[in-house]
Subunit: 295 residues, 2 copies
């Protein structure tokens, strides 16, 4: 565990599942001497005050960041650039700016123009979540044993990266560094494509005639059900992720579609050996997950 | 609970997960006065004898069915017709023949030619399973609270249907009757398509360059993992199901692919409203499952 506090004054912008979990954990583990929060929604700010888990709830984003030595932006990917533009002039010299967006290349590109030279930007992606959202949904153990990926552009201040890494380790997470473009392809495959498929198959079921739709729900335990858990996530968050990671996601979807079409062709022409090999490979991947204790 | 025993001599052909679970439950609940089993594999027959859960393990399928008043064929869908042809001449007058295949139209067509007029054929599909297979994988509670769908062709003896229904209720299952073609479409949507997608996405991941493949396993918790549980199933069983339910499965895959392509197009051209609506609908389906206590 790193020496605490890591930050004097930590500012969380956006108090949803991730922002709320960061604040709860930081408070519990003493990761920051003081905690300040801001959310664009009046209702959320009121609720955060009631919860009493931060030292201060600011009325503007600028006021929130003013004296902070670390600012973590926890808003949907599509809103990060706007927030950055809003807070940039108020960031303190030497402050570290970070985010929690699920895509990185787009975020880095959108922020580049706004970040003042006296601020270090350390992009981060905590790979953790639940299907819940809002100021009450966060909990301090959310990041325990999960991965946080850092994708700092070349030339980012190493001390700043080290402090962000220490912060996430203090949240109980495993931290790994990778190149932003690589991150986005990997995230497209392990997270964005499965979510896209989950939403899509729900829509396909929804499009069936009434009787069949009722039965899909009635008999969902046969496989369909497994696909719906991740389909329960926040629409705005996912809309933004899909749009922000467009290129990588479309490529992975294209690869998947080719593979699905090859399978369809094998089924149509009765190529039993092809189908069996595909199923065997699926099983092998599952087996690897079990061996790596990720299942 | 129905009055037991329902059958004097119940014969189970094929002693895998389903056949083994039927035998265990029948014994435990006294659903049959005597239990006889047959499996094409010498090793399985030997193991079933060791397990001591049936009264008799026959050396041939013909001998197994000879004096049975009910025969349930529990082999992969692709092997059912062959087994039926083999046992048909030995079936006792008044016997009931049933199966547990995941597709019904093909099975009914394949068997029609073989069933003697003095035998009632009641096709059944217990919608239950695990990712395990073999004679040791079965357990008596497998069907508890699960659905068993009966798809008897028009004109099937009602008394025979009633006894098969009673048998499955004795196994703890809920029983519903539907038309075979309708069953196959529904099963394609709730079970076969999700499995096809699960196998396919595992193959897509497998096709990535080495570094990314390693990471897919490392970071699988972000969504990918949920798709792999059902990809752990038996390759021969699924090969047979895909081939036997070709038309319905290809139609559902085509519908899904259209929906996925519509989503891809929305992502490419930045149609945020379309994406958000799709995600909302996915959430709504998940919500319905939770309300129906199927989640």
């Amino acid at each position: 565990m790193p020496e605490v506090p890591i930050f004097e004054r930590l500012c969380v912008i956006g108090f949803g599942l991730i922002g709320g979990s960061i604040a709860r954990r930081a408070r519990e583990a003493g990761l920051a001497r003081a905690l300040v929060a801001y959310d664009a929604s009046d209702a959320v700010r009121t609720r955060v005050r009631e919860l009493g888990i931060v030292d201060e709830v600011a009325e503007t984003a600028q006021a929130a960041v003013a004296a902070a030595d670390c600012v973590i932006v926890c808003v949907p990917v599509g809103a990060i650039a706007g927030v950055a533009a809003e807070i940039a002039p108020s960031l303190a010299p030497g402050a570290i700016l970070s985010d929690v967006g699920s895509t990185k290349l787009g975020v880095i590109g959108a922020l580049a123009a706004h970040i003042p030279p006296h601020v270090a930007f350390v992009p981060a992606h905590p790979m953790a979540g639940t299907e819940f959202s809002g100021p009450d949904s966060g909990f301090s153990a959310l990041f325990e044993g999960r991965w946080v990926l850092l994708t700092p552009p070349a030339g980012t201040d190493e001390a700043a990266i080290g402090r962000i890494e220490a912060f996430w380790r203090g949240c109980g997470a495993n931290v790994e560094r990778m190149e932003a473009a690589h991150h986005d392809r990997m995230a497209a495959m392990v997270s964005h494509l499965p979510h896209l498929i989950a939403f899509t198959i729900c829509n396909t079921a929804e499009g069936l005639e009434d009787e069949s739709r009722r039965e899909v729900l009635q008999f969902a335990a046969s496989g369909f059900r497994d696909f719906t858990r991740i389909a329960a996530s926040d629409p705005v968050m996912w809309r933004d992720i899909f749009l922000a990671n467009r290129e990588a996601l479309l490529e992975m979807l294209a690869r998947f579609t080719e593979d699905a079409q090859a399978m369809a062709r094998a089924i149509r022409f009765g190529d039993a050996a092809y189908i069996e090999r595909s199923v065997e490979r699926g099983r092998a991947i599952r087996q690897s997950l079990i061996e790596q204790k990720q299942a």
